[in-house]
């Protein structure tokens, strides 16, 4: 598999590490990871780096994941790059809002590496 540049956005540094580890367990072992602690920091990364995949939490201080998604589209950053939400919010309404804002996938915390593999790998392979 080619090298993947992934942006992981979560206010928890521990969760960012867990997501990175899950991606590696899913078979994405050649990977450059950029990290951001909230949506605003995520936008800053996207303004200076090209990425192939974005994984974002929803509940974050300063700028939450849904606003982050809207801003990515509004500012035409990372066009065509798949965004997967990884969050404790699990209601149909949250999933609907995320999909409407441009998310291509949704993973509920707590999650398994297998779930990450099932929902992220097809998006990476199709890109």
């Amino acid at each position: 598999m080619r090298e993947i540049r992934a942006l992981i956005v979560d206010d928890s540094s521990v969760m960012r590490k867990i997501v990175e580890r899950s991606l590696r367990q899913a078979g994405i072992d050649q990977m450059v990871v950029y990290e951001a602690g909230n949506g605003a920091e995520g936008l800053d990364v996207l303004k200076s780096k090209n990425v192939d995949l974005i994984l974002s939490d929803i509940n974050m201080p300063s700028m939450d994941g849904l606003e982050f998604l809207r801003q990515i589209r509004a500012q035409n950053l990372a066009p065509g790059v798949p965004v997967v939400m990884i969050t404790t919010e699990s209601s149909e309404e949250h999933v609907k809002q995320a999909i409407l804002a441009g998310a291509r996938g949704y993973i509920r915390k707590p999650f398994t590496a297998e779930q990450v593999k099932e929902r992220v790998l097809p998006l990476v392979n199709a890109a």
Binding site: S13, R21, N59, T88, E93, K109, P110
Partner: protein, 161 residues
């Protein structure tokens, strides 16, 4: 029609939802089995408490509490790293664990999942402190064990709409 949880207070306060949530989070995120035990947790000199607030149809909080050594072991399971003290990474991990416990618990009741928000976790460390809540609507206070470590998870509901 306005959504209300008043009619489903028994479902919301079902203690099995909390047990299932704790077991699920520990199994999936730490790879360990844990189970509910009677009585208080093992007291240590220093303890770690994480609080995630609920807002919306239900107001209240999810509180995780353990001794420092248990918090360190939990963070080690979550990250694959070793820790010798309760540093910022351990606090971050315990806060995130509490966030997942709160999210898993509210996810057991669809009306709650859709109409109850979570705050950013707050983590308190130290010794000789007590968390006091005035006359909650209901409170679930459970102790759990994994390996030889114990911790407590409390759901406090101080208002239901």
């Amino acid at each position: 029609m306005a959504v209300s949880l008043r009619e489903s207070v028994q479902l919301v306060s079902d203690p099995r939802n909390l047990d299932a949530s704790v077991e699920e989070v520990f199994k999936l995120m730490l790879g360990v089995n844990c189970w509910r035990v009677p009585g208080p947790i093992v007291q240590e000199q220093e303890s770690v408490t994480a609080v995630v607030g609920f807002g919306g149809l239900l107001s209240g909080a999810c509180v995780f509490k353990s001794g420092s050594s248990t918090a360190i072991r939990i963070a080690a399971h979550m990250t694959g790293m070793e820790f010798s003290e309760v540093d910022d990474t351990v606090k971050d991990g315990i806060g995130e664990l509490c966030n997942m416990l709160a999210g898993a618990w509210k996810g057991k009741v669809p009306e709650l999942a859709a109409n109850c928000g979570l705050s950013v976790p707050a983590v308190i460390t130290g010794r000789d402190y007590h968390l006091h809540v005035q006359a909650p609507e209901f409170k679930l206070d459970h102790a759990y064990r994994f390996d030889d470590a114990s911790f407590a998870v409390t759901i406090i509901c101080d208002g239901l709409q």
